[in-house]
Structures are given as structure tokens and as C-alpha cells.
Assembly symmetry: C2
């Protein structure tokens, strides 16, 4: 499962879409799209582009949301929301 | 169900948290937090604040994501992602 994760950051949406399609075309049947904070909206957009434009046989099989503690640059702890969208063939 | 929806927009997070708590304290057992586009991240934050800080007996019972068509000001149609987070006692 660890290998099935695409972590969403500041790259353009299509970079992640491409990473997901490449992953699925190399023998994997599932992918987890993960994102934190303001990147959560982008993760949802990515799942929709993959599903609607590229891979209509792919289904959203699970969605998790929650809170993670991250370490800031000043070495402090901060709570941040996350999403994990599982897509399966 | 229609009455159980809190739609997330540009107000501060705590305005929506308050709306949700008020709703739940007036005899309702469920609430749907809905948001579109860049407001999706905020909807997830709101669900986490409600759950962790105010109402620990409340559970996230369902999460939906998808695409909706909206009409822009220029009367054109545009696809936008949405999330719906159902919280239940």
C-alpha cells in the first residue's frame, strides 16, 4: 500500500493525473491520493479528472478524512487536516 | 435531509462550526457539510474542528465526492468538484 500513494503538493493537477495513470498502467490495481490542508481540494479535483476524463472503469472505493500532527520549520507541532481517496479498478 | 445541509462559503470556519452545533442542538441528529472547489479543504477543516473540539460523540458517517455543473456569471457551464461530509450522533 505504501507504494500506492500519490501525495498531492504544489505541482499542476496534470502532473498528479499522469503519475496516477502511470502507476495504474504498470500493474497496480489501486491508488491512494493523499493531501493535507489547502491541497485537499486539489486532491478531489485530481480524482475527478482521472475518473471522468481518463479511466472510466476506475471507482472511488474509499475516502478518509482526519487530522495529522505535523512539525513546522520552527520545530513546533501543528494539527492539519488530510484526505485520502482510494481509487480501484 | 435538505434542511440538514450546511453549505461552506467564504465566512470564517467558526461561523460554520457554530451553525453546525446550533443545528445539532435543536433536535437534529445529522448534518451534511457541503462545499465546492477551493472550499472543499475548508469543509474538511470544519468537520475536524466540530469532531475534535466540540462534539466528540459525533462521527463522520459518510463522505461523498463528485463533480457538479455550475452556471457562471457569463451564463456558461463549468464543472466543479464537490464534497459532502455527513456527520451523525
Amino acid at each position: 500500500m505504501e507504494n500506492d500513494v500519490v501525495f498531492v503538493g504544489k505541482k499542476p493537477i496534470m502532473a498528479y493525473v499522469l503519475a496516477i495513470l502511470t502507476h495504474l498502467n504498470s500493474g497496480h490495481d489501486a491508488v491512494f491520493i493523499k493531501a493535507r490542508g489547502s491541497m485537499i481540494s486539489k486532491a478531489v479535483d485530481i480524482s475527478q479528472v482521472v475518473k471522468r476524463k481518463f479511466s472510466k472503469d476506475l471507482k472511488i472505493s474509499n475516502i478518509e478524512i482526519g487530522t495529522e500532527e505535523i512539525k513546522t520549520e520552527e520545530n513546533k507541532h501543528r494539527d492539519v487536516s488530510f484526505i485520502s481517496v482510494e481509487m480501484k479498478r
